[in-house]
């Protein structure tokens, strides 16, 4: 039975509120058969996401506010220990990056879809995750030629 087999995977879907999340949700067909949970950055989107699956809001952070990074990191650690996903799928940004690295530490596979807003270079988060990603997709064909281990299969938007 295909369905029961698919239940073997638990997938973490991680994206910052806003464009990153918009892009991620466009790809929902890929995880329909699996158990999923969401990690995002703002309470505003939690209401919507809760309809699709359990949702953890860990807050927003970026490189410029190190204290916030540690707070968000701490929350992400709690989520990953609690949920124990087998796969992380993320469209970025910082929180997605953190979830990918934490997931990898616990043996999860990592799927990164770099945001379509990265036209000339892949994102900073993407450049870090590229080294640990099991599947790394970009949304402009030129970028796939520019980097190794990077694939283009289409644009979400």
């Amino acid at each position: 039975m295909v369905l029961s087999k698919n239940k073997n995977l638990k997938i973490c879907l991680a994206a910052s509120a806003g464009g990153h999340l918009t892009e991620l949700l466009k790809l929902a067909d890929s995880w329909q058969q699996y158990e999923v949970f969401y990690v995002s950055t703002a309470n505003m989107v939690a209401k919507k996401l809760n309809r699709y699956g359990p949702t953890h809001v860990v807050g927003e952070c970026n490189r410029e506010h190190l204290l916030r990074v540690f707070l968000v990191l701490f929350r992400c650690v709690r989520v990953i220990i609690h949920e124990r996903p087998n796969v992380i799928i993320s469209t970025g940004a910082a929180v997605g990056c953190i979830m990918c690295f934490l997931g990898k530490l616990l043996g999860a596979k990592v799927v990164w879809v770099d945001s379509i807003t990265n036209v000339e270079w892949i994102s900073l988060s993407g450049r870090m995750v590229r080294h640990i990603a099991d599947l790394f997709l970009v949304q402009w064909p030129e970028l796939a030629e520019q980097y190794s281990n990077v694939e283009y299969s289409g644009a979400a938007i």
Binding site: D29, N86, T117
Partner: protein
């Protein structure tokens, strides 16, 4: 009605004030409805609200003849999928309006592809708004299904 939106995450005073000024100069002959988020400047020429829930946002968008906005990917996506003529002015890092200039990069590429109009500075806004009247956006053929399919194949491969 022109729908003006700047998202809800950061203010965009430079943009809202400029559109209000253009209205003062009599260069806009259409009603505007604005969603201005955290913007502190309050326009006096048109109605504005801080935020709209999704249904109301969709309703305003569908009613609009055209859209003028920041270059948020969410707004761009919705305008394109509703086939609305769209003029964007990217938020810029140098004014503290955004943490990086990705907005400008994606909007520039989309304007090159004919999907939208772009201005980078308030002084070009009147001209942009004038052009918007006759602008017919090129339809964007996105392929989220192709990406979803690639990810699905990857997930399937993990089961073997």
């Amino acid at each position: 009605m022109i729908f003006l939106t700047v998202g809800t995450q950061f203010p965009f005073d430079r943009f809202v004030r400029a559109v209000d000024n253009i209205f003062d100069q009599g260069l806009i002959d259409e009603e505007i409805f604005a969603q201005i988020g955290e913007t502190t400047y309050k326009p006096h020429n048109f109605e504005s609200v801080a935020s709209l829930d999704k249904n109301l946002f969709d309703k305003r968008l569908k009613e609009a003849s055209s859209v003028i906005s920041h270059a948020g990917i969410g707004t761009i996506t919705m305008a394109l999928s509703n086939n609305k003529p769209l003029l964007v002015m990217p938020r810029l890092k140098k004014y503290g309006e955004v943490v990086n200039n990705h907005q400008a990069a994606i909007a520039k590429r989309f304007s090159e592809l004919g999907h939208l109009l772009i201005v980078y500075d308030v002084k070009d806004l009147p001209n942009g708004i004038r052009k918007l009247k006759d602008f017919i956006p090129r339809e964007r053929k996105a392929s989220p299904d192709a990406i979803a399919d690639r990810i699905r194949r990857f997930l399937d491969s993990l089961q073997d």
